[in-house]
Subunit: 137 residues, 3 copies
Amino acid sequence: MRTYPLVTEAVQTTRRTELVDVTARVQQAVSATTATGGFAVLSVPHTTAALTINENADPDVRHDLMRKLDELLPQREPYYRHSEGNSDSHLKSSLLGSTLTVIIEQGRLVLGTWQAIYLCEFDGPRDRRLLIKVIGE
Amino acid sequence: MRTYPLVTEAVQTTRRTELVDVTARVQQAVSATTATGGFAVLSVPHTTAALTINENADPDVRHDLMRKLDELLPQREPYYRHSEGNSDSHLKSSLLGSTLTVIIEQGRLVLGTWQAIYLCEFDGPRDRRLLIKVIGE
Amino acid sequence: MRTYPLVTEAVQTTRRTELVDVTARVQQAVSATTATGGFAVLSVPHTTAALTINENADPDVRHDLMRKLDELLPQREPYYRHSEGNSDSHLKSSLLGSTLTVIIEQGRLVLGTWQAIYLCEFDGPRDRRLLIKVIGE
């Protein structure tokens, strides 16, 4: 049982809000280790981005998810004090969460048929980083 | 220090939205290992379900939690494109999260007096699965 | 590779809703171990508190985040049944989450430049506990 070196993946986003599928990149980082069973802990070192697991097939799900989040948390509120104009992005980051732990079994991420791992951009476009730390045996 | 084989628990839900207490089943999976200290990583391989930790006593808390979530995220929105009519379920899944890591100490899940682990159904009734992976020593 | 004894930190909150920066205390618990690489699993054993990672610099971000949460989830709703009057606190706890896993590298928590770890109080003032379990090598 051991930990593997931290892997950093660069993710370039292209819009203010966006869901970027990073599943293949995380699997690649796992496959580069000798771990057959264990976990991958994922983290984004940003306060206006997040990580989530959701539907990998119909892009309409991603549209609806981001559209509804924007409706609940619009960019402007009369009471917002933060001068950068991205308070909504910070709250979205905390609501979806900036870390994720995914089980590894037989060298593969354990995900359902319809699940993908997404880096959530809430204040792009920006250069983002995805950190991947594997522990296993 | 080692990982234990992945355990899969079947959970049958009976309504569209529902909180199913799975604490005893997770504790049972932990007790079946020789781990005295470590973690249990829990995951639901579904995109319209989630896992959360909340109040184990008064059922009114569960009612209020689900009722308010339904108010914030109603099933229909004029701008929803996803044809299955469960975009709200997908977003609820991402907001509550489909994975959880629980500390194990002296062979027991470390939870507060009032905490229980719930599988959250957001698009039932369905046959769900709860995955449990224990790491410990 | 090993687990380290569970550490419990006392956190005294002073208002109904509040974000308490606990980053230094978590780092201290990590530094007290011999772990150079691994993870810290954090947990609050409470159902009206949470843990989140967000902006460590401008206090206006924390204001805006809590203000918007209060607007989305006011303390009173005509349909709330829970007699303690803190149903909003329970839901906020589930939305932000009561556990967090943070990567450790070279003996340090791996956080972005602007990231801090916050204990979120949603029904204070209260005496809260923060549980820290380190695994590493």
